[in-house]
Structure formats: structure tokens, C-alpha cells
């Protein structure tokens, strides 16, 4: 049986966490590191995906006023907020550990294993494409990755006793998403281990469950370790680059290229509203928020649909929405899939 390393780097600034991302990925690629599971935590920070722009994604004034660090990840995906009430897990692997180079399949395999670790607490955690882990339609973990040559880093979060309101206040989202009701709705769409279990389990226990699940999935055992000399050197070099305004603002795009466009329409099945963060340059829907006076059962359907519409080319909207509803049993009175399409298009058109 192969032995992989497990490292816990504790609570750190985001710059240090991402410098470690780069250092450990580089070291794994060069054969200077074994395959590794790392646990990490963050001081309060608003974190951009690699290709995102701070101006487009974050409320910079709010972050500055509240002492929230802003940093850019080396991995993909969307902006998020991390603090001590969540933790992160990361795998640094070689493609030969996986027997596949298909990135979608690798992400699924890792997420499904992480979900089994969470499920070992007696809850039903599942992988939700494209990159989330959820329990009963509520997100408990978001994930993303980076690769270089045959080495890869895949990372995820895990909510233990997190209040999503803190995240909403850092992100550039429609103002009405900060109303009491909207914040409650947002809370309903994520879930903490504490909510599910009635108590916050000790972090070491949660990490142990995740570690056991990865050990079982990959048929390996884990041995605790620290950073070797090569990794420490690479870490210092990476930190000198990442802990700078140049890295944080590596991608700069004006807010006007990513407006948040809104529309609402009264259908026979109720009032449906959509707010769409729309990438004008690439004609892509970056994110959609549905609200309104509608009845949809199961309730998770709306959150699932929002997830399915993330980062979607506008010309794929119709087929994606119809394909989404074709695959499931949903009761929404007289509201139809085409009503969702119509209100999203109306929002996008309002910005043209």
C-alpha cells in the first residue's frame, strides 16, 4: 500500500495559503514532494478565482473597512469568502495516482470521495456538478483545481459553522440579496455541519473523516509530515510574488463589462425574478439568482438550476434549461421551463 503525506498548515493569511498551493504543486510536479493531503484554514479573506477581477467580483470598500484580506487563487471558479469557521482540504497528486487525465472525471472522483467523508457523520452528502458537494440541495462544500504538467492540485472548502451573510457582504451581488429575507434564502441554500448534526464536531474529527475517505478511495494510507526544504524554498519564492498588489490585480476588468441585470415577469405560475451577472464581452451568463413569488417542489430545484446556469454561454441557455427540467420530476404549478428562459433573456436584454 502506498503512503501519502498529510499536512495541516493551520490558520494562515490567504497569501501564504496560495503561495503554498503554488509551491506544493510545483514540488509535486518536479518529484520533490510525495502525493499529499493538506488541511488549511484562513484568516478572514475574500478570494478571487484565478481569472476573476477584484473590481468585478468584490466590494472592495467593505473588505477594507472590515479588515478582510483580498487575494487571488491559483485555482479556478468564483469569488468566495473564507474565515476560521470553515476549513479547506487539498490533494496534490500526479496523474499516475489517478489512472486518468480527464479533468472532469478527476474532479468528480475526488468530490465523491470527499462527500463520502462528510456522509460518514450520518448525513447524505453528494457531489453536485459541476463542482459542489451538497446535502439535501444545500451546498456544504465548493471545489476547484489547478494543474501543471502531470501534477494537479484539487481543493475544496467545508462549512462547519459558517454564516453565509459574511460572504454576501463581501461579494458584488444585487442589493436586494442583502435584505433579511434574501439573506435567509441564501442561508437556506448552504448548510453547515453544525446545522446538520446539532453540534459543531471537533475540527480534528472532521479532518479525520475526510482523510479516511480519501485513503479508502485511493487505496493509500496517510502519514503526517511537514514541508521539506525544497517546498519551503519554493514557498518563499511564491510568497514574494503572490503577497503583492500586482498578483491580486493580475486580471483587471471593468465592472461595466460584467453588469448585474435584472428582470421580473408575472407568469400564470407566479412572479418570477432573475438577476443575471452577464459577461458582455464573452456573451456568457456568469451567475443567475432567481427569486419571486413562486412555488417549486422540490425546493432545491431552484438552487440546482442556478448551479447549472453558472458560467454558461448565452446561446446554450435554452437547451441547458430544457435539459435540466427534462431530467427531473418538478412540481411548479403552471410555471414552465420556458418561463425561466424568458426571464433570464429579459434581464440580459435589459443591458443591451
Amino acid at each position: 500500500m502506498q503512503t501519502w503525506r498529510v499536512i495541516d498548515t493551520g490558520i494562515r493569511r490567504a497569501a501564504e495559503n496560495f503561495a503554498l498551493n503554488r509551491a506544493l504543486l510545483e514540488a509535486r510536479k518536479n518529484g520533490a514532494s510525495p502525493s499529499t493531503l493538506r488541511f488549511l484554514q484562513f484568516k478572514p479573506s475574500a478570494l478571487l478565482g484565478y481569472h476573476q477581477s477584484a473590481e468585478q467580483e468584490l466590494k472592495l470598500d467593505y473588505c477594507a473597512e472590515h479588515g478582510i484580506d483580498i487575494q487571488r487563487r491559483i485555482t479556478g471558479g468564483g469569488a468566495l469568502y473564507m474565515d476560521e469557521t470553515q476549513f479547506g482540504w487539498e490533494l496534490y497528486l500526479h496523474k499516475s495516482d489517478l489512472g486518468s487525465a480527464d479533468m472532469t472525471a478527476i474532479a468528480r472522483r475526488i468530490c465523491e470521495a470527499a462527500a463520502r467523508g462528510i456522509s460518514s457523520f450520518g448525513v447524505d452528502a453528494r457531489f453536485r456538478p459541476r463542482n459542489d458537494i451538497e446535502v439535501g440541495g444545500r451546498k456544504i462544500s465548493g471545489t476547484g483545481g489547478a494543474f501543471d504538467g502531470d501534477a494537479l492540485l484539487y481543493q475544496g472548502t467545508l462549512l462547519v459553522e459558517f454564516d453565509v451573510e459574511k460572504m454576501l457582504r463581501c461579494l458584488r451581488i444585487p442589493a436586494e440579496k442583502l435584505s433579511d429575507k434574501a439573506i435567509q434564502d441564501a442561508r437556506d441554500r448552504v448548510v453547515n455541519l453544525k446545522d446538520l448534526l446539532g453540534y459543531a464536531p471537533p475540527l480534528d474529527e472532521v479532518k479525520g473523516r475526510v482523510q479516511q475517505a480519501f485513503a479508502a478511495e485511493f487505496g493509500v494510507k496517510f502519514e503526517p509530515g511537514g514541508l521539506n526544504e525544497t517546498e519551503q524554498k519554493l514557498f518563499r519564492e511564491a510568497l514574494a510574488q503572490i503577497d503583492t498588489p500586482e498578483w491580486i490585480h493580475l486580471v483587471r476588468k471593468p465592472q461595466s463589462d460584467l453588469p448585474i441585470l435584472e428582470a421580473g415577469q408575472k407568469f400564470a405560475g407566479g412572479l418570477l425574478r432573475a438577476a443575471v451577472a452577464y459577461d458582455r464581452v464573452g456573451s456568457r451568463i456568469k451567475q443567475t439568482w432567481f427569486t419571486g413569488d413562486i412555488f417549486v417542489n422540490p425546493r432545491r430545484t431552484v438552487a440546482d438550476l442556478e448551479a447549472a446556469l453558472k458560467d454558461l454561454a448565452l446561446d446554450k441557455l435554452d437547451e441547458t434549461v430544457r435539459g435540466f427540467f427534462a431530467g427531473r420530476q418538478v412540481d411548479m404549478l403552471t410555471l414552465t421551463p420556458d418561463d425561466f428562459i424568458a426571464v433570464v433573456k429579459q434581464a440580459v436584454d435589459s443591458g443591451r
Binding site: 484565478y50 471558479g77 479533468m103 476547484g144 494543474f147 494537479l152 464581452v281
Partner: protein, 145 residues
């Protein structure tokens, strides 16, 4: 046109098999560089593309651009050393073009190679393409495009 496990790999191009990129030698001695159809298939739909800046000298096997697909971020690596002389703005605006037309409209950067005669021997072209990619796909456990 070579086809390996249903992936198109035009045989007039030069390939860095390890980096899964292609290069076309243009009449003026410059190179056009992009991802192979195989690389596109492994990545899934590309949703973001950020090239290095025009004028920058990039060493062989170092990153000329960064792409993102399905929340994975990774580098596209230079097949040979050279200066970036152009980047594809149309692809930056619509990265899905890379998947739709990897050898045409989906090109990524143009380079002026600094030592084509010395370095092009590390690339494969023509009749050698099929066996080289067959071996890579085998190592990657890849079923087909």
C-alpha cells in the same frame, strides 16, 4: 490528417506531445500555437483564457497562456523558446472557440522562435504523430475524443 482515438491531429503541424500543444510554421518563419483537440477533450469547455503579454520572451516548456475549464486552471506551454508577437483577442472574448476550432479560429498565440532549427527536433510531425499520441493516450488512460 492523423486521427488517433478519434482525435484529429493534422499532420502538417508540429506537436509538443508532452505539453499537448501544436505549432504551425508560417511562411515568414513565425509560429502559430494552440491546444490539440486531445487537450481540449481532456479539459472540457474552456471558459477563460489569459495569454502572456506580447513582447514577452518565453522559454520552451514555460507558460504562454493560462486556461480555465470546469474550475481547473492550468498553463499552455511553449513548444519552443520564442517571443510572443500576437495573442488571440477573439478567443479571450469567447474561449469556447478553442474547443470548437482548436486548429483554426481557436489558436492562442503567435511566436517568433529564437532557435527553430535547434529546437524543432524535439517536436513531432507527419508520420510520427500517430504513434506518439497513441503512447500518450495510453499513458493517460484515455478512451477517445
Amino acid at each position: 490528417m492523423a486521427t488517433v482515438r478519434n482525435c484529429n491531429l493534422p499532420d502538417d503541424l508540429y506537436y509538443s506531445v508532452e505539453n499537448n500543444v501544436w505549432a504551425r510554421l508560417e511562411a515568414d518563419g513565425t509560429l502559430t500555437v494552440g491546444m490539440t483537440a486531445y487537450a481540449c477533450n481532456l479539459a472540457g469547455e474552456v471558459v477563460a483564457f489569459t495569454p502572456k503579454k506580447v513582447g514577452k520572451e518565453i522559454e520552451q516548456n514555460k507558460s504562454v497562456a493560462t486556461v480555465e475549464s470546469g474550475k481547473w486552471v492550468g498553463p499552455v506551454k511553449a513548444p519552443v523558446t520564442g517571443e510572443i508577437i500576437a495573442t488571440n483577442d477573439a478567443v479571450a472574448a469567447k474561449p469556447g472557440t478553442i474547443n470548437a476550432d482548436p486548429y483554426g479560429a481557436g489558436w492562442l498565440v503567435k511566436m517568433k522562435p529564437s532557435d527553430w532549427a535547434g529546437q524543432s527536433g524535439s517536436l513531432v510531425t507527419g508520420a510520427a504523430i500517430a504513434a506518439a499520441f497513441e503512447a500518450k493516450m495510453n499513458a493517460d488512460g484515455f478512451a477517445g475524443c
